[in-house]
Symmetry: C2
Subunit: 704 residues, 2 copies
């Protein structure tokens, strides 16, 4: 057999291919996947490549069009239907080829354009801005069957399975032994409509196969897209991302308040509700399922609106539209087209979603029903996507380290690092994961609602009118602040007057840190009473510091930070800090190499202030990252890449769990951690912020 050189760009992969091998097959041999969905019938056009012409000294080859087989009739027909595409891209037929058709007859240098590449990547924001490969659990295959006759009346499923084997073999075409057709399975609900679909489709269908094995959808005609939804069920907010499973693109993001909030604000009160009320679990479960169904509907609607808008624009604006989009009108995405969902949430949200009673999560020894990831048919949970579609729920790790933490690990990948990373998801409960590729440890701790602005005298959620930043001058002890919805500091212009409503979580951290830094409260959190400012005063419920006088507010009252507020923050930060300290100690570490703050709250707080009050351990500020909704990102990654699901199953099984309350030193350490840290050794990175203060003996004791 004669062999020729083939070089693939932009990957730079090169090697030799037998004469008459198709470019697509040759590329695959060299590890370069090129898309195809039409079983190499020259109809989908997904596998387009470009032949680069000329002498390539580096590879010692002359690449020319003639070194590929002549353009076939099918290929010519394909391109003839797409004059606009050729014009827009400035391509000529012969230069551009369908790689399933073009056979190698001489040396060639082939350019694989982005849109034809098999394993697409999406780049996401994370501590490392890494790219995610799209490897969905399912794949679409076009199957064309010979209709049954009296001579060959083989059953519909067997006819489809045999055809599918052919299509899969062509599309995959690996050397490995393929699963034989009778090893395929078909979901029962999908089977029920099979006969009708095949006949209506005149025996040409697109088949969605899950994990190379189970047929979960059969659609008449040619369909290249498949959709999925990733969901993060927070105690407060439910966020859903509708994604294209082939490209990885997010088509719509929708969120809603968690409707369970009416049955209890935090997870413990919801567990109590499920224990106290005979139909408590049923109500909580139905509430979340109906919200998920609502979000799915909204997301499909939003996605369709924007897809229609862009299709319309592409018709009007010839310069932007690609030929293909114009020629094949896009169908609206229906809920049936959503073939998969991945969900995450804390252990309680996880249990309620699965209709598992959370009772034992709420009573000692706090045991979940299951850690392992769960796969379940959409119809079993009553989720209104394709009823044959799969619902995947990420594993829980410990009693209070849930599937959201698993998702955070998937997103941030501490298990692939040499450095030691500390991941913290801060909310009413905080989950912490510390470690690297060798070892991961985790724990969780309740932090109370103070960090989210609740149970604080003038606390409020982050919304217009909420203070979001506070600064206190060390000398005059006068404050300045920023308010959500208004630019700049309140001292900059008069617009602020009459605007302030309350204090949100990030401003509370700021305020407490500033009170400490400015010497208004001591390291134990007590107000000093001898200060020369009218802002520090004896209020209704004890000592307080007024940040905004009533004239500045929309509520007609002074807005102070009270002794009680400071105390709340002290308890929250002590819990978080003790948890982090325990993990570090168990890992024999002084401090982490990186701190990653996940969750909405982590994105808004001032890292420096958080470290100043000791909310997070000491670390170089440049190595403290806020990554936003890492749990949502992790859910999306697990949705788009099935290998990540196995990875997280394996990783979470190995994570070591520490239950703080069983740590003999916990109570003692916790009490010590309520004091504020300062310029002693363990906090070198914030020492410059508080230059004039003496070391606090208690803080020293704690650090040992």
């Amino acid at each position: 057999m004669k062999k020729h050189n083939i070089i693939l760009q932009p990957s730079g992969r090169r090697g030799q291919a037998d004469e008459h091998t198709s470019v697509r097959s040759a590329a695959r041999e060299l590890g370069v996947e090129i898309e195809s969905i039409c079983a190499e019938n020259a109809t989908c056009g997904k596998c387009m490549v470009l032949v680069e012409e000329g002498r390539f000294e580096k590879y010692n080859i002359d690449s020319k069009r003639e070194n590929l087989s002549p353009v076939s009739n099918e290929e010519a027909a394909y391109f003839a239907r797409r004059p606009k595409l050729l014009k827009d891209k400035n391509w000529e037929v012969g230069q551009v080829r369908l790689s399933c058709q073009a056979k190698i007859c001489g040396d060639v240098l082939i350019n694989v354009p982005e849109e034809s590449r098999g394993n697409k990547q999406i780049v996401r924001k994370s501590a490392s801005n890494r790219a995610i490969e799209v490897k969905p659990s399912g794949a679409e295959y076009l199957v064309s069957m010979t209709p049954p006759t009296l001579e060959r009346p083989i059953a519909d499923w067997e006819r489809l399975a045999k055809g599918l084997e052919t299509s899969m073999a062509l599309v995959r075409g690996t050397e490995e032994k393929l699963p034989r057709w009778y090893e395929f399975e078909i979901d029962y609900v999908c089977l029920r409509t099979l006969a009708k679909t095949l006949r209506e489709a005149k025996w040409n269908v697109t088949v969605t196969v899950r994990e190379d094995k189970e047929v979960i959808a059969v659609q008449a005609g040619y369909h290249e897209e498949s959709y999925g939804a990733a969901v993060d069920i927070g105690s407060t907010t439910v966020a859903l991302y509708l994604c294209n499973l082939r490209t990885g693109e997010v088509l719509a993001s929708e969120s809603e308040m968690n409707p369970q909030i009416v049955y209890g604000e935090d997870v413990m009160s919801r567990i109590q509700y499920a224990i106290d009320q005979p139909d408590g679990l049923e109500k909580l479960h139905k509430a979340i399922i109906s919200t998920l169904n609502k979000l799915l509907k909204q997301a499909a609607k939003s996605a369709n609106m924007s897809l229609r808008a862009s299709a319309k624009q592409s018709v009007h604006n010839e310069g932007i539209a690609s030929g293909k989009e114009q020629e094949r009108p896009r169908n609206d995405i229906s809920l049936e087209d959503i073939h998969e969902m991945v969900l995450v949430g804390n252990s309680t949200m996880h249990h309620v979603l699965l209709n598992l009673h959370p009772k034992d999560l709420g009573l000692a020894p706090f045991v979940p029903t299951i850690h392992k990831s769960v796969d379940i048919k959409a119809r079993e949970l009553g989720l209104h996507i394709n009823p044959s579609g799969n619902i995947h729920i990420l594993p829980t790790i410990a009693s209070f380290v849930g599937a959201d933490t698993s998702a955070m690990i998937v997103a941030e990948e501490p298990h692939k690092q040499d450095e030691n990373w500390l991941l913290i998801d801060i909310g009413t409960n905080a989950e912490l994961v510390l470690g690297n590729r060798k070892r991961l440890v985790c724990t969780s701790t309740p932090t109370g609602p103070a960090l989210e602005g609740a149970h604080v005298e003038y606390g409020m959620r982050a919304a217009p009118g909420a203070m979001e930043r506070v600064h206190i001058d060390e000398v005059t002890l006068e404050p300045k602040y920023k308010v959500i919805g208004v630019d700049g500091w309140n001292t900059d212009h008069a617009e602020f007057i009459g605007h302030v409503k309350g204090i949100c979580g990030s401003a509370i951290i700021d305020a407490v840190a500033e009170l400490f830094r400015a010497g208004i409260v001591d390291s134990r959190g007590k107000f000093k009473k001898e200060l020369s400012t009218t802002r520090v005063r004896q209020g209704e419920s004890g000592w307080e510091y007024v940040i905004a006088w009533k004239e500045e507010t929309s509520i007609g009252r002074d807005i102070p930070i009270t002794q009680q507020d400071v105390r709340q923050i002290q308890l929250a930060k002590a819990a978080l800090f003790t948890a982090a300290r325990t993990l570090l100690k168990r890992s024999n570490l002084e401090s982490p190499d990186k701190i990653i703050l996940a969750g909405g709250f982590g994105s808004f707080i001032d890292k420096e202030k958080a470290m100043l009050i000791g909310l997070i351990p000491d670390c170089e500020l440049i190595n403290v990252y806020a990554v936003g909704n890492a749990a949502g990102d992790g859910a999306r990654i697990a949705l788009l890449n099935i290998e990540k699901r196995n990875e997280i199953d394996t990783v979470t099984r190995k994570v070591e769990r520490f239950e703080l309350p069983t740590d003999p030193e916990f109570q003692n350490q916790f009490m010590l951690a309520t004091s504020f840290p300062h310029m002693s050794e363990p906090f070198p990175h914030i020492a410059h912020l508080i230059p004039n203060r003496k070391a606090d003996p208690m803080a020293k004791k704690f650090m040992k």
Copy 2:
């Protein structure tokens, strides 16, 4: 390591075992399975064995009690609780041992009593009276867990799975690498009650594992029994067998009319109903599901009644009861305890059961939706056994060769024979399978309702008052007959007068055969008119032969066999005979080595008469077997033995299907086959019955 000889009776297996190996482990090494369900904790007593004492020259060993480890405290305690058992069996402790406890310290000859043997066998009636090994799809394991603590709050499922791994390893203990605990799965519905069950059970549960992989039931405490139901859905009758999945015993047999009969008497009219009515399929489907649920309930009730009756008797009658039954009161069987069902039926019944539209089965080219066997959760079909239980439906083979034929194959095993067997299931439709271990061919043919007594002038179902046998004297042309419910022939005594109501299927075959044998009708089925008997006469609808005068009947009218009746039988037998002939020809066979008649009808007809009219091909009469409900037997076999399911899947895939209507010779052959065969070569086995008749030229032509 010191080794000792061990001989196991009654199998005669022998070999060597390491010192201190348990007798059970050593037996397993030698391929002798001994039961155990308590994870070798000396509590279930399933593994009892007997030490035979003495010198065994054949094996050159001295076997004695002292060659096993002393009776352990646990063992002694087990036997101390069962004085009656020891007394009844005349066993002494030390002679009888728990094989999981007794360790080998010297040469021994061990007797494994029937009840301790691992793979039980049940003997069933079939053409070969073969024994069926009981190898159910699931197995029970006792799992005892340490309760969770604050220090070790691992989730319930993981705790159970780890415990299960231990129990399974002990029970199985093969050298192969066992699946690790995290490869186990748990059914979703079972998961939902897991937390509650484990706590109520104080962490001691019996776990039912399906196919060594999926947990489908978790019950508090110790349960050794598991139940299953096998069902044959006939167009007319639905028969259900409730079985003990461990012993294979049938605990109850229940049957009901198929409720779909109100929507159409035969399958074609039911298919038409489903096509014509918008909710036709839904009605048919719901009707069968609700009948199945009714049968399940009845079967559980019957089984409980007889179990209670026998338990009561065993208390009263010490001589009969075994010690164990008295000591452990049997719990009632609930529907939840039924863990599996296997169902069979013709293609239409199969489709309606699965809620698959039968439309394309009824319209050319007559295509089923699926051939492959189907596994589906009980809850998906709405069958009221354990909702996590599996429903297995055997494969269909061709358009009109359904899962009932698959079951017949499982029951009769033509695919394991050297001889060529012809299996015929006779009903309104007849299915035929011919062949041996090398090749199986099948076909089906409609036979019309005549063979079941319908559409015959005075036809009726086999019920009291129906003629079941007819004989006609060759000389006098006078008949005699037998009636269901009365002993002897009508000519024997006067009791018959006023009893006869009609003619059932078997008597119609008899009557037509006798009319032909006595020369009243010719080989083309025409009445001869010149005969000297008043019984042959011109009736209302043509010529007829009166079998019973009106005085003999309960209906006050003469009961004749009419020309029309003879014609009906001719058409039915021609269809059946042509089908059989076609299969023989395609297999290059003159005649089969054995004919197996399945179905109720096959059990009642006179084999000789059936051959005389050419309903079945020529064969030695001794090699024609009626095996009763082979489909029901096959369902039961597939229920009890999971390997049989794989076997039938493999076998049915290879069966060659012939569609008669597409056979170019079919019409011609069919017309020829309407004539009655006689003493020409192809029917040597019935030639003696009709010695005085000449060869019919048409019959000769047909046989070529």
